[in-house]
């Protein structure tokens, strides 16, 4: 909301400059967005009267002037302008003034032997014009000593204030003036008295009001709706409002100035009688903005015999709008329920100055005054004759009462104020204070709808007292109970694996979302997305991570290792399932090319290793998980695994389906964190006991040819189980497909390390165990022993 300082001064007598005003507003809780003050550069310049003007004794082209700038002295000035002359009103800079044009501070000069104590300025010197065309000539009417703003036709200072939703009262210049007065920045002026008209006729338009509204109105006959006077136009334009016609400008002026929305109907366009009522679903209304709206039940509307002529508290109708031919007007001033106005405004999506104020609560105490002062202004500016007002509802709504225990202030704010100090602050805000045995009985002014409970009162006192005077208290000491969250452990293992964390949108687009689900019904759509691209909650982290991956590749940054730790979203039978997940993606080559590093593409086993390593951080060992050769459709079939622990799904790994990657080789793994993470990490779990045997080690290598249908992982895992005590380790050191092996077979070779904890293994023991291993692989793996090496 824009506040013009000149306008403000209609409500507040103050000498404060615009910066003091802005600072006070900030301190009071009204956020200042910007200050636009053309006077900043011109504040030291004054209107001066050229009392005498003669030729310079030593220079033909120069003049020697005596100027009066209202401070009781005459200043001798040498001036070179052709247009300087006696009795001219000019813009004058005293010594010490900074000249905007050259940013030089003016000092006393001596020109051709004559001292000069200031400067009579040109428009160029004030940065108001590019060319120097002599000194500025001001109008006769200005007084020496005046500031130069008005004479120069410059608009006044404007402060743009952002009003918090609770302060409907500050959506008016009057409200801002009250705030400033409460902080002792000037004194609040009384609102202008309204006229008392004699012998008024009854309002000839009959009005009926259905519902609990305060509604007043009157007919004003024989007005002339011409242009507004300059002062009114200037004030409106200064705060960014457009001057339209006198009638409209007057209502806008009172809306912005007093926070009192009014509506003027062209009375000659009203058909029959006026009814204020609630709307019915499907009723149509064409507003002043030219748009037609279809209404719901329960919106407050003002109707005539032809239909709706105004959406109460929001916007007038096109059919009864005032124009330059308007002769008779029906002027309305009312109070409507803020919630109803808010609902209507939101539903129809209409923004207006009236709605902004009504939905935050206007001052019910100004309904009657608003009508009267608007009447006075109309008659003053447009002429005409008013009727008696029609009045519905209680014009004098009872004021809110709050009982306030002054001790509450110290309790909440931590500052001790005397009851007198508290009383003073509250009275500054227009609150009536009665002290009943140390409980203050407060009567809240009609414009402060936000003050309802003791805490609201505490805030009022605190902000006037100043938040800066709130003392410092430290929280009591508490034990340090932090333990790293599982997410932090995940992050640690991911950075150790060389992954860079990304944060990508939780939203994705319909096409990519559908690539990630089997059932489109499981997608969660936003009702009001920013764009189609961000319209669905991603069903998998990989969906939005892939976009980031592709962008990097397009721009030539390959061999990526990205991970993200976030939620993914699915709908299962209308239930929203939010799953916290970890996803890691590798692309391109395992290493950037470098003379020391092997060169190879990433593959599914890199993703598998990443996954296994993260699981290990949470105590889930590789041998305790099961891997099935299948996975979601966004992985390449045949290159994907589903990881489970018993029935629990832990995650997936695999190569991303080439259709989704624009030919980038990308492998990924995903873990459903809730299924692997303990609620809290136990930092104090004892590791399992380990036996470090000193007995000699026996190594045996085995080589088999087995059918490809046999899964090698479980086979190798199970060999250890043949004798867990003696077999310390089994390592697959060769896996071979191709030449010399039939197409449906593979060759495997593994090393078995055998060691007893308590004795040297005998040759018989070793041979017997080896035979068991051979039998096992032959039996379970349909393996054909190739040889046995030592």
């Amino acid at each position: 909301m824009k506040i013009s300082v000149n306008w403000l001064k209609k409500f507040l007598s103050t000498q404060a400059d615009v910066n003091t005003i802005a600072d006070t507003l900030i301190k009071n809780g009204l956020e200042v967005e910007s200050i636009d003050d053309p006077a900043t550069n011109l504040k030291d310049f004054v209107v001066a009267h050229v009392v005498e003007c003669e030729k310079h004794p030593n220079a033909d082209r120069l003049n020697l002037c005596q100027v009066d700038c209202g401070d009781g002295k005459l200043y001798q000035v040498v001036c070179g302008a052709k247009n300087v002359r006696k009795d001219l009103k000019v813009v004058f800079a005293r010594i010490g003034t900074t000249i905007p044009y050259n940013q030089q501070v003016l000092s006393k000069g001596t020109i051709r032997g004559i001292e000069s104590f200031g400067m009579i300025c040109s428009a160029q010197e004030l940065n108001l014009s590019d060319a120097s065309e002599g000194i500025i000539e001001l109008g006769e009417q200005y007084q020496a000593g005046d500031t130069v703003m008005a004479p120069l036709g410059l608009s006044d200072a404007v402060i743009d204030v952002s009003i918090t939703p609770n302060r409907g009262d500050c959506f008016s210049i009057l409200g801002i003036a009250r705030e400033l007065a409460a902080s002792n920045i000037g004194e609040l002026l009384l609102l202008p008295q309204t006229q008392v008209y004699q012998d008024l006729v009854d309002c000839p338009i009959s009005v009926k009001v259905i519902g609990d509204h305060i509604f007043t109105g009157r007919l004003i006959r024989n007005v002339t709706n011409h242009h507004s006077p300059e002062w009114l136009k200037n004030l409106l334009t200064s705060v960014g409002a457009r001057s339209i016609s006198a009638v409209v400008d007057i209502t806008n002026y009172l809306c912005l100035g007093l926070g009192r929305p009014l509506h003027a109907f062209d009375a000659d366009k009203i058909q029959g009688e006026i009814t204020v009522r609630y709307s019915h679903q499907g009723e149509k209304f064409t507003a002043l903005n030219g748009l037609e709206y279809t209404l719901d039940d329960g919106m407050i509307v003002i109707c005539d015999d032809s239909g709706i002529i105004s959406l109460a508290g929001i916007m007038g109708g096109a059919s009864t709008a005032c124009d330059e031919n308007t002769k008779n007007i029906f002027l309305e001033s009312a109070y409507f329920n803020p919630v109803t106005i808010a609902q209507t405004g939101q539903k129809l999506n209409i923004l207006s100055d009236a709605r902004t104020r009504f939905e935050r609560g206007v001052d019910a105490g100004l309904v009657a005054y608003g009508l009267d002062i608007a009447t006075d202004m109309l008659i003053d500016i447009c002429g005409g004759k008013p009727s008696k007002p029609v009045v519905f509802g209680n014009l004098n709504l009872p004021h809110t009462k709050v009982d306030f225990n002054p001790e509450k202030f110290a309790k909440i704010i931590g500052v001790d104020l005397t009851v007198q100090q508290i009383t003073n602050y509250l009275q500054n805000l227009g609150i009536k204070v009665e002290n009943n045995q140390n409980i203050l009985s407060l009567t809240i002014p009609s414009w402060r709808h936000d003050l309802k409970i003791a805490e609201d009162i505490v805030e009022e006192i605190a902000r006037l007292h100043g938040y800066e005077s709130i003392p410092s208290y430290s929280l009591s000491l508490q034990p340090h109970i932090y333990c790293p969250s599982p997410e932090d452990v995940v992050r640690k293992s991911m950075i150790n694996l060389g992954f860079n964390e990304v944060i990508t949108w939780s939203f994705t687009d319909p096409r990519s979302a559908n690539d990630f689900v089997d059932d489109p019904e499981s997608l969660i759509y936003l009702q009001n997305p920013i764009s189609q691209d961000l319209s669905i909650m991603r069903p998998s982290l990989v969906a939005s991570m892939l976009k980031v991956v592709k962008k990097n590749h397009q721009e030539g940054r390959t061999n990526l290792r990205f991970f993200e730790l976030a939620a993914q979203f699915n709908k299962v039978a209308n239930d929203i399932q939010t799953t916290k997940a970890l996803a890691g993606i590798r692309t391109g080559n395992y290493y950037d090319s470098h003379w020391r590093l092997p060169s190879r593409k990433v593959d599914v086993f890199d993703a598998k290793l990443d996954l296994v390593k993260v699981l290990k951080q949470f105590g889930i060992e590789e041998h305790s998980i099961q891997i099935e050769a299948k996975g979601p459709k966004y992985y390449a079939q045949g290159q994907v695994g589903t990881v489970k622990q018993g029935k629990k799904l832990l995650g997936y790994f695999g190569q991303i389906h080439p259709n989704l990657t624009d030919n980038i080789v990308a492998v990924a793994f995903e873990l459903l964190l809730e299924n692997i993470l303990p609620e809290k990490l136990d930092l104090y779990t004892k590791p399992k006991k380990i036996t470090l045997s000193n007995q000699p080690i026996a190594e045996r290598d085995f080589s088999f040819i087995i059918p490809k249908t046999i899964t090698v992982g479980p086979l190798i895992n199970n060999i250890k189980k043949i004798n867990n005590k003696i077999i310390k380790n089994v390592t697959l050191f060769d896996y071979y497909l191709g030449k010399n092996i039939s197409v449906d077979h593979c060759s495997i070779a593994f090393k078995v390390i055998m060691q007893s904890d308590d004795h040297t293994l005998t040759e018989e023991e070793i041979n017997s165990l080896s035979q068991q291993i051979i039998n096992y692989v032959q039996d379970k793996g349909h393996g054909q022993l190739r040889n046995e090496k030592n």
Partner: protein
């Protein structure tokens, strides 16, 4: 003679040559061996004196041989090693070492900071209900304050994307009785997208509910936090009144900064203020909504946008860069400090 022999030992420049000298002197038919053999033919007296002299010479030669051998062996090893000498100026490559996103890092650091004061980390769902996001927080259905949230709603079903992590306040207070100190980080969503706003960002909400808590506690906690976060112990922090439906009194927190044409420097002696978060004393209605007696307990809460804090601290000017996942950006601004 001894001088000559010692010189020969000294002159042997490889192990083979040295061994030849040894054989020449001390071998079966070596010069010294011969001399010792010849002693047999001498008188006892002569044997004694001459024998002593020869043995002394022999010892000296032996010592010299051992010494020389050590040196030659070392030389031999070094020669062998030097044959395998590498160009130590060859460029090495960075270890594969990942990074944490600066936003995640800030959350982690802030969690850590508050944990020192007995705060625990709480989280809640990102898709939530109007009740937790608004009603329970004293934001009435049609209040303009609710409109200011630019909420994303779900299509065809109840639910919204939480607009703040204050939802976690309510969930926690309804489950756990005071005294409470919690910190709630997480993703939040607002239907807003321009140069300084993104539809998704991160927020951290801090809540304390205890007996005898006042705004002075809030102020101190916040000032200390700001100074810690920006690592400036004299950072000026300003509180100014504001409005949030779930706190009363409410305040906004500004820090001092120097704003110039293209730069912004946070710190003492600045020419401007930067708003960094909102805070206040928990509104009694919010406590009542969570079955906490506002007569007995009071609370304070504050909420901050993590992106904004990170951008200010790291001098990142474009909020979108945080989500673009440019690998160069991630490596530059990411943190590879060990966590947890």
């Amino acid at each position: 003679m001894l001088e000559k022999w010692l010189q020969e030992i000294e002159d042997a420049n490889n192990l083979q040559a040295l061994d030849e000298v040894r054989v020449k002197l001390l071998g079966k038919n070596g010069l010294i061996t011969q001399q010792l053999k010849n002693l047999g033919s001498l008188s006892i007296e002569d044997k004694k004196t001459l024998g002593l002299a020869i043995n002394q010479q022999k010892d000296k030669c032996l010592n010299a041989l051992v010494e020389r051998k050590k040196i030659l062996e070392e030389q031999a090893i070094n020669e062998k090693l030097m044959a395998n000498a590498v160009d130590i100026t060859l460029p090495i490559t960075d270890e594969v070492w990942g990074s944490i996103h600066p936003v995640a890092k800030a959350i982690l650091d802030i969690n850590n900071y508050f944990s020192q004061f007995g705060f625990t980390v709480k989280t809640g769902p990102e898709i939530d209900s109007e009740y937790y996001n608004f009603d329970a927080l004293n934001i009435p259905t049609h209040h303009p304050a609710r409109q200011n949230h630019d909420t994303f709603f779900l299509k065809g079903m109840a639910g919204l994307l939480r607009t703040h992590t204050s939802t976690v306040q309510i969930r926690t207070m309804q489950k756990q009785k005071p005294p409470l100190r919690i910190i709630a980080p997480g993703r939040v969503y607002r239907s807003d997208s321009d140069a300084t706003h993104t539809p998704m960002f991160h927020q951290i909400e801090v809540l304390v509910v205890e007996k005898n808590l006042n705004m002075g506690h809030l102020k101190t906690t916040l000032i200390d936090f700001c100074r810690w976060f920006f690592a400036q112990e004299d950072l000026p922090v300003r509180f100014r009144p504001s409005f949030f439906p779930f706190t009363e009194p409410s305040a906004e927190v500004d820090i001092s900064c120097q704003k110039n044409k293209d730069s912004l420097k946070i710190g003492h002696g600045g020419n401007s203020w930067l708003e960094i978060m909102g805070c206040g004393m928990v509104h009694p209605q919010v406590l009542v909504n969570c079955n906490i007696d506002p007569q007995e307990f009071s609370g304070f809460a504050f909420g901050m946008g993590v992106e904004r804090l990170v951008m200010l601290k790291s001098g990142i000017s474009d909020i979108r860069s945080l989500y673009e996942g440019d690998s160069r950006w991630l490596k530059h601004y990411g943190s590879n400090g060990v966590v947890a």
